[in-house]
């Protein structure tokens, strides 16, 4: 008969909360860098300048197809050998997940931009708008609305993937959990609590995203033309 005892976990819950904070920091920073970088990669890939579109297509596909753990290890262990940088687990985590998620966001952006009717570009162009103005004022505002569900999904995926940073000893929620499990000899309770924390976090997040989607659908101006 297994005996559950959460006391040891709960008395050290601040360790887990510290880890949770770090997890959120990595996720937030990866989003903050990854989304603009993703837009840049998407626009490059859509560009008519061949080297630019081929180059960004390569970067996007490379980071979408290689395992994130390999990427993380590469940035943490391999990159410092190539160039003279001091890699901390934190920096390696941010770099890896910014670039990795930007590759995914790039495809979300690209899909969103391509989903906008060509007539929108034409309407904008005909009143004298430049490419940048058309994109910023006409195409992106419409595309972003359509992309919100995919964005939310990607962000949740990113949050889950950040558990990998524990492998390079960055003190995220997972790392703290491993630590605590060894210290207390209570892996059952520790990992249960961690699972619940992730569940609550992601469940709340997806509830918010559903609410946002509903609001967008209700505002009713998302139809083409």
């Amino acid at each position: 008969m297994v005996e559950w005892n959460f006391l040891a976990v709960l008395s050290d819950i601040d360790l887990l909360l510290l880890g949770l904070g770090n997890t959120l920091v990595v996720t937030a920073l990866a989003l903050a860098f990854g989304i603009p970088l993703g837009l840049f990669l998407a626009l490059s890939r859509l560009s008519t300048i061949r080297p630019l579109s081929v180059g960004s297509a390569f970067i996007i596909e490379f980071f979408r197809t290689t395992p994130p753990l390999v990427q993380l290890f590469w940035f943490f262990f391999a990159l410092p050998i190539l160039i003279d940088v001091r890699m901390t687990p934190f920096i390696a985590a941010i770099v890896t997940f910014s670039i990795q998620s930007s590759a995914f966001f790039a495809e979300v952006f690209r899909g969103g931009i391509l989903s906008i009717d060509k007539g929108q570009w034409e309407g904008a162009k005909a009143i004298g708008m430049t490419y940048g103005q058309s994109l910023r004022r006409i195409v992106l505002p419409q595309a972003v609305k359509r992309m919100i569900p995919a964005f939310m999904e990607r962000s949740i995926e990113l949050l889950k993937t950040t558990t990998l940073v524990s492998t390079v000893a960055y003190a995220d929620l997972m790392f703290q959990a491993n630590d605590l499990a060894q210290k207390t000899f209570r892996p059952l309770e520790v990992y249960t609590v961690v699972a619940v924390i992730y569940f609550l976090l992601i469940f709340t997040f997806s509830q918010i995203s559903i609410a946002v989607e509903h609001r967008l659908a209700r505002s009713g101006e998302s139809t083409v033309r």
Partner: protein, 257 residues
């Protein structure tokens, strides 16, 4: 008469397909020129070369006597900045409206003024409301385009173009996507513009409009202008068999005799 648009020896090819094969055309201030021609004859392409939505393969376009682009060992060179500026002076209305669905009607008509011309918001709003009044839609300013009928959408699109104070307006089959009962309100707006002295280049299959409003009718066939002249002459007594055949195909459109 001041000349607004001058097109000289205009050629346009898409890959191996030569769509325009040397077009010469001038449109004078206040003139309404109607372009006729069967499907695929190059009407849209010609119109789109005037405001450089398409870049001509050969030939020259001038607006108000100013050559667009610069000559560069035999060919023409265009800078994107110059073309954007040019497009602010040439209004274009499309078959499918191309209104911005995420903006209100007022927003649609203000957008180019604010973002492109740099007018202040109050100034742009005044202007926008004037233009909406002009097309008879002052009461729809706060609506989103999705809530309008096709005819109303098209009139908003006309107001959006007018708000830029263009020197000339281009219309590409602007009533073709409309339900028959909505065609009239748009044609009426266009007629009113013509009467107010707007310079217009119009592609349409509405022969009644051509007959009553146009100063000149052009018949485009396989990328060349086959026939042109006063509507009363060209539409009733065409010289070429091509034009006669084309007109017979349009017998549905009533022509007063």
């Amino acid at each position: 008469m001041t000349e607004i648009v001058r097109i000289e020896n205009l050629h346009k090819s898409f890959g191996p397909l030569e769509v325009l094969k040397g077009i010469d055309l001038t449109v004078d201030s206040g003139e309404t020129v109607v372009l006729l021609g069967s499907s695929g004859s190059g009407k849209s392409t010609l119109l789109r070369c005037v405001n450089f939505m398409e870049t001509p393969s050969e030939g020259q376009v001038s607006l108000h006597g100013e050559l667009v682009g610069s000559e560069n060992n035999g060919g023409m060179q265009y800078r994107e900045r110059e073309l954007c500026k040019l497009r602010t002076r040439i209004g274009m209305v499309f078959q499918h409206f191309n209104l911005f669905p995420h903006m209100t009607v007022l927003g649609n008509v203000m957008e180019g003024q604010v973002t492109v011309l740099g007018r202040s918001k109050p100034e742009a709003e005044d202007k926008a409301r004037q233009q909406l009044e002009r097309v008879g839609l002052a009461d729809k300013a706060e609506e989103y385009p999705a809530r309008l009928s096709g005819g109303q959408k098209q009139r908003v699109a006309i107001a959006r173009a007018l708000a830029m104070d263009p020197d000339v307006m281009l219309f590409d089959e602007v009533t073709s996507a409309l339900d028959p009962e909505l065609v009239g309100e748009v044609l009426k707006t266009m007629r009113q513009l013509a009467e107010e002295g707007m310079t217009m280049l119009v592609v349409t299959h509405e022969l009644g409009f051509a007959y009553h409003v146009a100063n000149r009718v052009l018949f485009l066939h396989e990328g060349t202008i086959l026939e042109q002249g006063e509507p009363q002459k060209v539409l009733k007594d065409p010289e070429t068999t091509r034009m006669r055949e084309f007109l017979e195909g349009h017998s549905l459109f009533k022509l007063p005799d």
